[in-house]
């Protein structure tokens, strides 16, 4: 007598590799994009913050509020591919200027103050 013969039909594994790939790839892409978006957002936040500070210099130089606001929007558009700058407020007098804005839809609020000459002197 020879060995017992397996009469069961062998399992079809053809789609398993594709399924695993789809699951793993989507997970991989999710992680990659999440990391990318978070780090990009941090970078954008820091850049827009600098831009807000720069707009206070713009005010201090005597340019109009409208012009300085327009400059923030224009320069920020280089890095803000999805999202926008809202509620920009710039005000000040001869010595102190304050500015605030929001980055939407992330609801990031930024505020900067510039005092001349205190902030410029080491």
């Amino acid at each position: 007598m020879g060995p017992p013969v397996n009469l069961k039909k062998p399992r079809n594994n053809k789609g398993q590799a594709v399924l695993e790939l789809v699951v793993l790839l989507s997970l991989y892409l999710f992680i990659v994009f999440a990391v990318f978006q978070v780090s990009w957002l941090l970078g954008v936040r820091s850049y827009v913050n600098q831009q807000l500070y720069k707009s206070l210099f713009c005010m201090a130089k005597g340019y109009t509020e409208v012009y300085c606001k327009k400059e923030i929007r224009r320069k920020s558009s280089f890095v803000l591919f999805w999202g926008e700058i809202k509620n920009i407020h710039l005000k000040g007098d001869q010595k102190k200027w304050t500015g605030s804005l929001e980055i939407q839809p992330w609801n990031i609020k930024l505020k900067r103050i510039l005092q001349i000459p205190e902030d410029l002197l080491q």
């Binding site: 790939l21 790839l25 991989y28 990659v32 990318f36 780090s39 990009w40 970078g43 954008v44 820091s46 850049y47 600098q50 831009q51 500070y53 720069k54 210099f57 201090a60 130089k61 005597g62 340019y63 280089f78 890095v79 001869q94 001349i116 000459p117 410029l120 002197l121 080491q122």
Partner: protein
């Protein structure tokens, strides 16, 4: 296998995007460094300027003293009294000497302003070498935009020139390379042109309470 193919692609996108962000941030940082340098230079110059202008009262007193001494000398000459003439001449010489040493003090302040300006400028140039290049400065003929009043006096006062803010202004200009992260030879090979010119200007304003710093357009 798929991961091996797409990972380098993502890494490249990561690298490129963050390099772009870094370049933009460097541009802003260069501006802030520029304003800080300009402000620090002007602040030092302001101190010299205040010292110089605060001496104006003393300069005026010396001019009056000189005028009186000269008048006395002339009247002594008219009196033909040798003792009187000798005394008047001595007094006049004393006042002239006082004026001379006072004028030297004023000159020294002007020179100190020039030296501190040069020193700060050199330090800035050394510090900024990493970020920017072709740094230049433009300003009026001398670091302090003042003129003698009266010009021919031995102990003149120093007053701000006409259009003081514009002439006291220090304009710092520089060049930035947007592709600084890429080696120079590769940039040339690829024909990349990321060079841009920038500038910032800081000056002083002559207000009633003294000299105030002012950012210029």
């Amino acid at each position: 296998m798929t991961f091996l193919i797409i990972s380098p692609l993502f890494i490249s996108i990561f690298f490129l995007s963050f390099s772009f962000l870094l370049v933009l941030k460097r541009h802003n940082q260069a501006y802030f460094i520029c304003y800080k340098t300009g402000a620090n230079i002007q602040n030092t110059l302001r101190e010299h300027l205040q010292k110089l202008t605060s001496m104006n009262t003393q300069a005026r007193i010396l001019r009056i003293k000189r005028k009186i001494a000269e008048l006395r000398y002339h009247s002594a000459l008219a009196s033909l009294d040798p003792v009187n003439i000798l005394q008047a001449r001595k007094r006049l010489q004393k006042v002239k000497f006082e004026q001379q040493s006072f004028s030297n003090k004023q000159e020294r302040i002007l020179k100190q302003a020039q030296i501190s300006f040069q020193t700060q400028w050199k330090t800035f140039k050394l510090k900024s070498k990493k970020y920017i290049y072709n740094v230049k400065k433009t300003f009026h003929l001398q670091p302090l935009a003042v003129r003698k009043k009266p010009a021919e006096s031995d102990s003149p006062g120093y007053v701000p020139v006409e259009g003081f803010s514009e002439k006291q202004k220090i304009k710092i200009s520089w060049r930035m390379n947007g592709f600084a992260l890429i080696p120079q030879k590769l940039q040339e090979h690829l024909g990349l042109k990321g060079i841009s010119d920038h500038h910032c200007s800081v000056s002083l304003e002559d207000l009633t309470g003294g000299f105030q710093m002012k950012l210029m357009k």
